[in-house]
């Protein structure tokens, strides 16, 4: 268990994400599977972590738990020193909006919206900035991922690599302290994989954000600051 003192001090030391003894079961009845069997993990600012392992070992489940998209059956998750795993949905949603950026494998852009709108969407919800500031920031982010000339294109008018770059810009929109990426390059060719990974890590390091990514790609994993292999619901 994480003590409040310990979590506060770890946050001050640069630990932005910490989980301990995470347990998670999926399925019902006879199909119920013990996916995570007491996983502990922590992430520091400015560091890039790769979680690797065979399919079904619990990598993505862990990522969604860390992103507060799911609730653990046991253990605790602390974001910036605050234990969030047992909070209600509204508190976890607010923490997600303010502290966590997601990049998913299948881009997950909202295709009826332009690239600019996609990047502005988290900002509009958080409402920290004025509308002109949001537009300016979204334009900057899209320029930094090389899409400054395609800001008004709809999601459907962008290639897979471009969509994933918009997703990276969107993940950075609210300046979260944590970026969680589920196979961010899994659906891209080598050239685009390298470009997206480089972007993600460069921008995250520039803004001292912790990046936790799940990947099957050993080349990508080897370029991360830390690699955490998983097997059967545990780090090995």
């Amino acid at each position: 268990m994480l003590s409040p003192v310990a979590t506060a001090s770890s946050s001050a030391n640069g630990t932005v994400l910490r989980c301990s003894s995470l347990q998670r079961y999926l399925g019902q009845g006879e199909g119920r599977v013990h996916v995570l069997k007491g996983v502990s993990f922590e992430a520091q600012r400015g560091q890039v972590y790769a979680i690797v392992g065979p399919s079904g070992c619990g990598k993505s489940t862990l990522l969604y738990l860390l992103g507060l998209l799911d609730q653990p059956d046991g253990g605790e998750i602390a974001i910036n020193g605050q234990v969030m795993s047992n909070n209600d949905d509204a508190a976890r949603t607010a923490a997600r909006g303010a502290n966590i950026g997601f990049v998913f494998q299948f881009h997950f852009l909202m295709l009826e919206f332009s690239a600019l709108d996609n990047v502005m969407m988290p900002m509009r919800k958080l409402a920290r900035l004025t509308p002109p500031e949001m537009t300016a920031r979204a334009n900057d982010l899209l320029s930094s991922v090389g899409l400054g000339d395609k800001t008004h294109r709809l999601g459907t008018q962008l290639s897979g690599g471009e969509q994933q770059r918009v997703a990276v810009a969107r993940a950075l929109a609210n300046e979260p302290s944590i970026i969680l990426a589920d196979e961010p390059t899994g659906n891209l060719d080598v050239k685009n994989s390298t470009m997206v990974f480089d972007l993600l890590t460069r921008l995250a390091k520039d803004h001292r954000q912790a990046v936790v990514l799940v990947t099957h790609n050993p080349e990508i994993a080897n370029r991360c600051d830390s690699v955490r292999p998983m097997r059967d619901g545990l780090f090995v």
Binding site: Y64, D89, T93, G97, F108, M110, M121, R124, R170
Partner: protein, 413 residues
């Protein structure tokens, strides 16, 4: 524009055909609701106007006399029990001046007219007919009826200036082949007097137009041999809807039976009310279909947009935001449907009011009667709002209940 409304707009435009279906049903539902209510209310209002113009808002008629009986409480007791047995009616109003004086004290009363009525036989050169003669003071009667506007041949001024003039109902005049200026005889209890047709009136109520004729009160008194008293006092009021309360109070105060127009025409009014309700229910089927179409469309959008819902949830959008996004979609369709439906209703009502429809019997009209009442628009929009929003709640709540973790894992139910 709020982020949720912005997202709702985009989701809406993504399902154009389905949304147009919901929108069409809403427009049709609202528009038809307005048109049917305008026509049923139009005929009802026209009927009320006709009966008020012919027979007034309240009729004060027979004098009431309580009948009491007393008997001893027991065989040897001096104590008497008084028992009310019922009400005895004495036909007519014996002291009309006193009654009219009392009626003028009622704040809602705008006019009174004493009327002496009697059964007569009317004889023209061609044939005889049974009729009812109404003795009136024409200027007083014009204050409690639309008689002035019901004249179709001749004019009321001739009647006013001619002591033996008469106003004859159109059907009666047609049957007797009487024209303005012709003379005829009225026969009552063996007394026969000659009159001249000053004008012919038409109320549109066949039962009135085939039986009724008006003569001056002194002539009626001579003809019917009734030197004093009248048959009833016709009362007009400022607020016609208060007639039941006013007539009840008049009955208490004047000790004469007083009948409001609502009581007199109860069966017709109930028929109109039933017609209005049944047409409203029938037309509400369209708004029900609009609600079902909305449910179907939103349910489809929820299924198709689960990934978008997961994205929004991952970006910090709360469950209530998701609910709002889907309810906004319904609200946008409802708002457009309500405005367009109201315009369709307005134009439709105008078009219907021009359709030729000759009716003569309970009232006289040549075209559809419509009522221009803002409440029909409010009722139509409220009905559509209830149907559409109620149908939208289920898919909106289902969307909000989706767990983002389940969606990205691909295990969302």
């Amino acid at each position: 524009m709020s982020p949720n409304l912005r997202i709702a707009f985009r989701f809406l435009t993504a399902k154009k055909r389905a949304m147009l279906m919901s929108l069409s049903c809403t427009i049709l539902g609202v528009g038809l609701f307005i048109v049917t209510q305008a026509t049923t209310s139009g005929f009802e209002e026209f009927f009320i106007k006709t009966i008020l113009g012919s027979n007034g808002a309240i009729l004060v008629e027979d004098q009431m006399q309580d009948t009491m009986r007393s008997f001893a409480a027991s065989g040897t007791s001096d104590f008497l029990i008084t028992h009310r047995e019922g009400v005895k009616y004495i036909e007519g109003v014996e002291e009309p001046k006193r009654i009219i004086s009392a009626l003028t004290q009622f704040s809602n009363v705008s006019g009174t007219s004493a009327v002496l009525r009697g059964n007569v036989v009317i004889r023209s050169a061609f044939k005889n007919e049974s009729a009812q003669v109404y003795g009136i003071d024409v200027d007083e009667h014009l204050k409690v009826s639309d008689l002035g506007h019901q004249i179709v041949l001749g004019n009321i001024a001739d009647f006013r200036e001619s002591p033996t003039g008469a106003l004859v109902g159109k059907v009666l005049a047609d049957r007797l082949e009487l024209a303005v200026g012709n003379t005829f005889l009225l026969d009552s209890r063996g007394q026969v007097r000659r009159y001249r047709v000053s004008a012919i009136f038409e109320t549109g109520v066949r039962d009135i137009d085939k039986l009724r004729l008006y003569v001056h009160m002194p002539e009626a008194r001579s003809l019917l041999k009734k030197a004093t008293g009248v048959t009833f006092v016709q009362v007009n009021i400022f607020d016609k809807d208060r007639a039941p309360q006013d007539s009840a109070r008049m009955q208490d105060v004047l000790k004469h039976s007083a009948q409001s127009w609502q009581e007199r025409e109860k069966s017709w009014l109930e028929a109109f009310h039933a017609l209005s309700m049944s047409s409203a229910i029938t037309v509400s089927v369209f708004t029900l279909i609009a609600g079902l179409a909305m449910f179907n469309t939103l349910a489809m959008i929820v299924l198709e947009k689960t990934k978008d819902i997961a994205i929004l949830r991952s970006m910090g959008y709360e469950r209530r935001d998701i609910t709002q996004i889907f309810l906004w979609q319904a609200a946008v369709v409802l708002a457009i449907g309500a405005i367009a439906g109201a315009i369709v209703g307005l134009v439709g009502t105008f078009a219907v009011s021009k359709i030729p429809l000759p009716i003569n019997g309970i009232f006289k009209t040549e075209t559809f009667q419509v009522s221009w009442n803002g409440w029909h628009y409010v009722e139509a929009v409220l009905t559509a709002a209830i149907m559409v929003m109620a149908a939208s709640i289920i898919p909106a709540r289902r969307a909000a209940r989706l767990e983002p973790g389940d969606i990205v894992r691909g295990t969302a139910q």
